[in-house]
């Protein structure tokens, strides 16, 4: 019984880890750009497809781990410079419509290129199999995902806390007027933050691909949960995204086991309660 719970808790944490990556990207983008990126799920999906394409062209999964964030990051730069830039200061519904439109475009282009259905994506050879501890089974790939996600979060933390750019980003989230008044070039950091956020989403997509497959619509459901996570954790907050993601992931996984019909609902009720009682989120300072 204990191992069953341990196994499920672990599973919940790993699925939470993916949410953390997504929520982190969203939180960064919102914190620094004041923009809710409703197309985040589509970048997640693109990451998986870019990974697929990398492997198809003779690369392997390890290569994809590097290629995907780089490609998505570049894409993020392009999109920020051309589209997103024009929307700063615009209303929420304008942002919603633009990013919604972007999603459609990305999804349909993928469908045209790769077909409307999902495509197979296998776990890399080296990561197949599982560790058995007593009765509990821990698939190697899940362990890898957990490690990769943790490493990435650590990297972002270092970026934010230990670099000058990170300092600007953090300051910008708190008070962008002041930062601009200090004469700091905001445009560059904005582009950077957007592209990092997008790269995180794509990386998350690649990480889930061997377990959940690759399909053009894989971004929708996860987008909603990522948004919920960010709201629960606190919109501009790093730790909010981390804690929120782990919380939501675990809650959802455990309810899926205990009371399956409620698993989707529980997350929304949780969000409703948090927003109602403490709208800035668990760790937010909005």
């Amino acid at each position: 019984m204990g191992s069953l719970i341990a196994g499920q808790l672990f599973a919940g944490l790993v699925s939470g880890a993916i949410l953390v990556l997504l929520a982190l990207g969203l939180a960064l983008i919102f914190g620094h750009l004041r923009l809710v990126n409703f197309a985040h799920g589509s970048f997640y999906m693109l990451g998986a497809y870019v990974g697929y394409e990398t492997i198809r062209r003779g690369g392997n999964f390890w290569v994809a781990l590097v290629v995907v964030p780089v490609v998505l990051g570049l894409l993020g730069v392009v999109i920020e410079r051309t589209l997103v830039k024009r929307l700063y200061g615009r209303t929420l519904q304008d942002l919603l419509l633009l990013t919604y439109g972007m999603s459609f475009v990305m999804i349909e282009l993928v469908k045209i290129t790769y077909g409307a259905s999902g495509i197979p994506f296998d776990v890399p050879e080296a990561l197949r199999g599982a560790q058995r501890i007593g009765d509990a089974v821990f698939p190697n790939y899940l362990l890898f995902t957990a490690v990769a996600a943790a490493a990435t979060v650590g990297l972002i933390y270092l970026l934010l806390e230990r670099t000058d750019t990170g300092l600007i980003i953090r300051a910008g989230s708190k008070d962008d007027v002041m930062v601009k008044a200090l004469g700091i070039d905001f445009d560059r950091t904005r582009t950077l933050v957007f592209s990092v956020g997008v790269a995180l989403a794509g990386f998350a997509g690649l990480l889930v691909a061997p377990r959940m497959g690759v399909s053009p619509d894989m971004g929708f459901a996860v987008m909603i949960f990522a948004l919920v996570t960010v709201v629960v954790g606190g919109l501009g907050s790093f730790w909010g995204a981390v804690l929120g993601g782990l919380l939501i992931g675990t809650v959802q996984t455990l309810t899926a086991v205990l009371v399956p019909e409620l698993s989707r609902l529980v997350v929304f009720v949780l969000m409703g309660v948090v927003v109602f009682l403490r709208p800035s989120g668990l760790m937010g300072t909005d």
């Binding site: 196994g7 499920q8 077909g115 197979p120 296998d122 197949r128 190697n140 086991v257 399956p260």
Partner: protein
């Protein structure tokens, strides 16, 4: 504030409406999306005999006169878009074959396709439009259960023949069906009753049942319980998941803990692929046999070879049937010639529905709904799935089920034609007698 604007409002809007009213007509068939990038197909070696089309050779006269219109409503966009597109292909093939052999009652057959965008209200709207504005003689198609019920509501109100080609348990009941609606696909009840015995006899009787927590899922469970009862077996353990679940790492330990012989699961498309991958990573396939509720070429394409090892599943149609069933060979080869790929079950259902309709129209000698409905009742045919018939009381299709087993990639590569699609081999056939479905009386029909 200048006030002339409202006149211009009227002018501009009226103009645009007029333009739209004269806009694109209805009869343009939707372009099927191009197939996913696949490694190049090796030239298929010709089968020993030339394939003859099911109807008479080309010496027929050209069909002429007022066309018979078929309205095909299915989901060609959205996350099940690929399946809808398959249906369209199957339907188009049937229409082409009918027209090539002289048409129906000497008249050409026209198929008008509409996308229901996986929304029931949209499906209803398209049905209304096709009936009221395009004057179709019959409607066919669907991918989702909710959509087929929506189309049925409209067709029933209008008194138009509708052939539903997707799974639902709600159309062949006295309350849920109608005099002009025919269910040309299986019900969850029938599904379970067809393979339950084979599963118990060949795989084991300690069964864990994993299923979707929604209407069809529950109907399936009911059917399974009822099917297992005469064999003296109950479901040993079960778990229900919401639709769209892609995270099974918490369910899988549960399954392992129950230690069943057979894991019987009802999941579809992307969820199924995700489940199989995750099950593989936990080594589930080494500990028990896996049997799905159904199989389809499109689903196997999504999951791929690696994660589906050793997966058993029943199907009404799998293109491998061409090896053993002459009618399947005819259909598969014709489809292959037309589209370059083998047909999936979605294509087969639609193809068979249209061909069956054509048979009924020929028998009735008219497209009038009452006569065609009467002809469809009790109709027998075989258009690729083996001996099929439509039961009179509930307008339900009965056809054999075939137990399939997933091949390894190496074994599939050895297949001559279409190795990249040779996911499954057919290992058994189960005849469809009326007993696999509830009796007419049970469904509410007076008998």
């Amino acid at each position: 504030m200048q006030t002339k604007l409202n006149v211009s409002v009227v002018v501009v809007i009226a103009l645009s409406l007029v333009l739209v009213g004269c806009g694109p007509g209805a009869a343009t068939p939707a372009e099927p999306a191009s197939m996913p990038t696949q490694p190049s197909v090796a030239e298929p070696t010709q089968p020993p005999e030339a394939t003859a089309p099911p109807s008479e050779p080309t010496a027929q006269s050209q069909p002429s006169g007022e066309p018979i219109r078929i309205g095909a409503i299915t989901s060609t966009s959205g996350f099940v878009g690929a399946f809808g597109q398959e249906q369209i292909k199957g339907g188009q093939l049937a229409v082409e074959q009918i027209n090539d052999s002289g048409g129906l009652l000497g008249r050409p057959v026209d198929m008008i396709e509409r996308d229901d965008k996986v929304q029931p209200a949209e499906a209803a709207k398209q049905a209304e439009d096709l009936i009221a504005n395009e004057h179709v003689d019959m409607l066919v198609g669907c991918v989702s259960g909710a959509n087929t019920l929506a189309i049925h509501e409209v067709a029933n109100r209008a008194g138009v023949i509708y052939l539903s080609t997707c799974q639902t348990g709600s159309l062949n009941t006295a309350e849920g069906g109608g005099p002009y609606t025919f269910h040309m696909a299986y019900t969850p009840w029938m599904n379970t009753h067809l393979y339950a015995q084979w599963m118990v006899e060949n795989l084991g009787d300690n069964i864990f049942f994993l299923y979707y927590d929604f209407v069809v899922g529950h109907e399936t469970r009911e059917g399974l319980v009822d099917a297992l009862e005469p064999l003296g077996i109950e479901i040993a353990a079960e778990a229900a998941v919401p639709l769209g679940t892609t995270e099974y790492t918490s369910i899988i330990p549960q399954i392992r803990a129950a230690n069943p012989e057979v894991l019987h699961y009802f999941l579809s498309t992307d969820d199924r692929a995700a489940f199989l991958k995750q099950a593989t990573s936990f080594g589930l396939q080494d500990e028990m046999k896996l049997m799905a509720l159904a199989a389809d070429l499109s689903w196997d394409q999504i999951a791929g070879f690696a994660s589906s090892q050793g997966d058993y599943a029943p199907a009404n149609f799998y293109w491998e049937l061409r090896e053993t069933l002459p009618s399947a060979k005819v259909f598969v080869d014709a489809f292959g010639e037309q589209y370059g790929t083998p047909p999936s079950g979605y294509a087969a259902y639609q193809y068979q529905a249209v061909m069956a309709y054509a048979d009924a129209v020929r028998e009735a000698g008219t497209v009038s709904a009452d006569e065609v409905a009467a002809a469809l009742e009790g109709l027998e045919f075989d258009y690729g799935s083996g001996p099929s018939f439509i039961r009179e009381c509930d307008h339900q299709l009965f056809q054999p089920a075939y137990i399939t087993l997933m091949r390894s990639e190496a074994d599939a590569a050895a297949i001559e034609r279409w190795p990249q699609y040779a996911f499954r081999e057919v290992i058994a056939a189960v005849e469809a007698t009326e007993t696999v479905e509830r009796s007419c009386a049970d469904l509410g029909f007076a008998e």
